[in-house]
Symmetry: C2
Subunit: 427 residues, 2 copies
């Protein structure tokens, strides 16, 4: 089987070196030689010995190379990547990609082109790196009606939240972000990771393969972790919760929830135990119950592991596309409305900074009660100066009602800052 | 696609009902109707509506029924099951089984018969119930050189260990076993589960699909959990460990370790957080690093989920057997010696009951030191009466040396009981 690699960054170099290093082990599984016949990259990679490899600076040469059977699209981004993948497909080549943005935003067009040409389009590496979660959901759980998926699918955010929670750390988001950037766990511009866009791309795909709904990246509700404070981490801990940045998608009646935001997760749950840059995806389904898939969500080796697993799948399937791109056949994909976040029901953590005056608790309770919200737990914390922090765990309530209450609470004369809200995971 | 079900117990009834209940969702994934054309069972199952089903009391009728394309072998045991599966294969039928004992003990014969007939033989449900771990290892990690696997693969044992560790429980093995039997989590004769035989069957298969070695059930080292005391659970907890019953297989030089026994697992590790009847399998591999697969390891729904996922795989593969039975092609299976447990290296927890006399600690330390064993941690606990419990964590040492030391320690005149040893997991 002849491979062309486009892009020789972290993932491309990992795939190139994996094919060399694990040649024998892969041959034992397939009895097929996998040869890299061309690499297209802007510059060579210091970790790769390219002396015996046909290298081109023009990535489009790779997809036009008649010797190439499978193209690995590992350049990232969406503009060139889309052109490249469509060109490869039109040339009758199978494509393996690690590009979540590409699949989340242009998957429908690409899948339909691939189906038209009878080639395979695989993307295991797009979600949760080395964890074979696309395979688990599309194939391992294929006998189930999947009810929900909740995942820690961005290592940078999880690293930051874990570090903020390290005993004695007491660091705020900005400090830990700087530390993560120094360690190479966060980009110079961290927006994609810490504001949840990367996670939203992945969740878009997970939702489609779980429920057989179209890819709906534009409808996803996305909230990052930059507003989480050291105080939130500590108060949540006292109440028995860890804070995690989750992607959650769930069937609700005839609609689906599709949302990425920070969550309080009960400390005894597996997802609360996922630390550092690790990822985990939990799926709830009617027969298998909850199952979880855990591992490294990024990095050269783990992502290359997923890319080459897809190559091996193509080899083992004799070129026949057995599993539909979204797990469900194109004609069975059913559009369902995505619930507006205001229509989502759940309990929440509220943190208020209030002037420490008599009667303020009475005002807070009254407002909550007027909106039909009851208090499940309450903590009042003295801070330096005259302010106090009030932390409340609400009952399960429609987000629209809670928003109205939060607006009123924020406009209380005793309120010294916007009321912070973190949703509580109900898994 | 036409199915024949042999066995209508917990798993068979679950598979039957799953096919009825999730017919539409499965059709959306495959565009193939799955029809149960015959059920062979000793007696009907109260949860199954068999009014429209062809039921026979002779299971061999099912494998001889020319209408049946895929046989589900869900009768358990090894004698009849082997005959049944071989007959089905000879009749050109694909087989899906949930039978770990059958695969661990007779897999080679069955796989070779299936290959000869060009039919598929699938067994996802044989390991860890609803968790698609066979698929993860054989396919999801196929680009890796897998280095080790460690798993909690028996729910009964894990339930008992979890209950013994419940705060304030202080119950011994026998008490919790009785409770588990009342709840239906343990059989009337619990030997298979609590003595590790069931886990050994599963680990045998996991070792083969991880490393491409032959199935070697007879060479596995197996130790159960019946000797674990409430004291061990509590001392381990004080030292920062949970006790879990693990199956561990690992490459060591040109050999493999293959062992099932209780382990101390550091409390901050994911496997230590797997509670109750849940299962989890962790795999260490050269590219993906550690990945873990978690979920329900038994029960009607979860096991049926795995059985029918195999059926869907057969449908999706157009009858072509793409993935070798053990992940590696038959001609690539390489025999490796299984390390005798005495040749395994690791640290251990020792618990001694000693007469509380001056000089006893000196004797203990001397014996350990004479065998080249150093003490990493030590606790002495007063008990009622004159005895004391001495708990020691050793450094990493060859088990043969530790055994010699344990024999000497046990024969000390101050020693009031056999020295207990629990190995420490090094993952």
């Amino acid at each position: 089987m002849q491979i062309g690699i486009c892009g020789l960054g972290t993932v491309g170099s990992g795939a190139f070196n994996l094919l060399a290093g694990n040649r024998d082990e892969i041959y034992r599984r397939t009895a097929v030689e996998i040869r890299v016949v061309q690499v297209g990259c802007r510059r060579d990679h210091p970790d790769c010995d390219l002396s015996a490899t046909n290298v081109t600076r023009d990535i489009f040469e790779v997809v036009n190379n008649p010797e190439v059977d499978i193209v690995l699209e590992l350049i990232g981004g969406t503009d060139d990547a889309l052109k490249l993948v469509l060109a490869a497909v039109r040339n009758g080549k199978h494509v393996v990609t690690a590009n979540k943005a590409l699949i989340a935003e242009h998957g429908s067009e690409i899948f339909s082109a691939a189906a038209g040409m009878g080639v395979q389009l695989r993307y295991e590496a797009a979600i949760a790196g080395g964890i074979p979660v696309v395979k688990a959901v599309r194939e391992g759980l294929a006998a189930n009606r999947i009810e929900w998926i909740a995942g820690i699918i961005n290592g940078t955010s999880n690293y930051i939240l874990t570090e903020m929670a390290r005993p004695g750390s007491n660091l705020d988001f900005a400090d830990v972000l700087k530390e993560a950037q120094n360690l190479g766990y966060a980009e110079a511009d961290p927006t994609f990771d810490v504001e949840g866009i990367d996670a939203a791309h992945k969740l878009t795909i997970l939702s489609s393969i779980a429920f057989g709904v179209p890819l709906r990246f534009d409808d996803i509700y996305t909230e990052g972790i930059s507003a989480i404070t050291a105080g939130d981490i500590s108060y949540a801990g006292e109440l028995g919760y860890a804070i995690r940045h989750l992607g959650i998608t769930r069937r609700v009646g005839d609609a689906v929830e599709l949302r990425v935001h920070p969550c309080l997760v009960p400390q005894d749950q597996m997802l609360a135990r996922v630390n550092g840059v690790m990822n985990a995806v939990m799926a709830g389904s009617d027969q298998a119950g909850p199952t979880m898939y855990y591992g490294a969500g990024a990095g050269s080796g783990p992502t290359a592991s997923a890319v080459i697993a897809d190559v091996i799948d193509i080899i083992r399937s004799d070129g026949i596309h057995n599993v539909a791109n979204l797990g469900f056949l194109p004609e069975a994909i059913q559009s369902k409305p995505v619930l507006n976040i205001e229509e989502v029901t759940g309990s929440a953590y509220l943190r208020m900074v209030v002037a420490d005056k008599a009667g303020v608790m009475a005002k807070i309770s009254t407002i909550l009660s007027q909106h039909g919200i009851s208090i499940e737990a309450l903590m009042q914390k003295e801070t330096h100066g005259e302010d106090a922090h009030v932390v409340i765990i609400t009952n399960e309530v429609l987000e629209k009602s809670l928003n109205a209450a939060i607006r009123e609470l924020s406009s209380l004369e005793e309120s010294m800052a916007e009321v912070a809200r973190i949703r509580i995971a109900d898994l």
